[in-house]
């Protein structure tokens, strides 16, 4: 395979890796925001917040099923 095709392939792969990294970073930030808000309001995470996180995790698993 040519060098140009190799380079394009590598760029594509890196973009996928970056996309995955951004998704992970986004979730990490979401956690920080949730905890920060709770701490600022002098409380722990609520049942509603945990239920929403569970629903989002389930939705992500369901999307994986196609």
């Amino acid at each position: 395979m040519s060098n140009a095709a190799d380079a394009l392939l590598v760029v594509t792969r890196l973009l996928s890796a970056l996309e995955a990294a951004m998704a992970v970073a986004g979730n990490a930030q979401r956690f920080r925001v949730l905890v920060s808000q709770a701490v600022a309001e002098g409380r722990d995470l609520t049942d509603a917040e945990l239920n929403e996180l569970r629903a989002d995790a389930q939705a992500a698993i369901d999307r994986l099923g196609g």
């Binding site: 395979m1 060098n3 190799d6 380079a7 392939l9 590598v10 594509t12 792969r13 890196l14 996928s16 890796a17 996309e19 995955a20 990294a21 998704a23 992970v24 970073a25 979730n27 990490a28 979401r30 956690f31 920080r32 949730l34 905890v35 920060s36 722990d44 995470l45 049942d47 917040e49 945990l50 996180l53 569970r54 989002d56 995790a57 389930q58 992500a60 698993i61 999307r63 994986l64 099923g65 196609g66």
Partner: protein, 185 residues
Amino acid sequence: MKRTTLAAVFGNIVSLAAVALVHFGIELTAEQQAEIVSALLVIVNTVALIVPAVIATVNKRRERRVREGGFVTLSLLQGIALATIMGLILTACTVVPETPRQAVAASYLSIESLAQTAEIAYRDGLIDDARRDAVREELQLALESTALAQQAVEAGQDPSSRLEQAHAILSALKNRLEIEVQRDE
């Protein structure tokens, strides 16, 4: 080049640039100059991480024959797995769960992150249907364990064992992905 030396070099460059910009009516405060230097350091460090990986991948690619029906670019899968693990570590290091509810939340988010990562890997042809289905089943188990942990928290009970179950499932999933990477290479 050491980070401190690089920072000093960038600092001098930015200072000179600030002096030049004054002639164009643009004034940069010391804080703005420091922010520019920090941004330059981040960019350079990021490039320094990516470029060797790109070069190594290209070299490996030349030695690897193409498999019929596509190829499994496990170097990228390894990168995705690494990015996921780094994200999990990042979450743990940046805000360490201090309460059981926070620990449950972190577990849900970790599951979602792995599911999103696996979705990207499957979409890009890095894992096949069987691997995707296996990952989904394990993530579902981890989710159920975390949900039981949440129930324990709501009942005023200790959720540790359930959370440890979820963590063990996610860790095993990560390890299997890494084994797959090593086997292919």
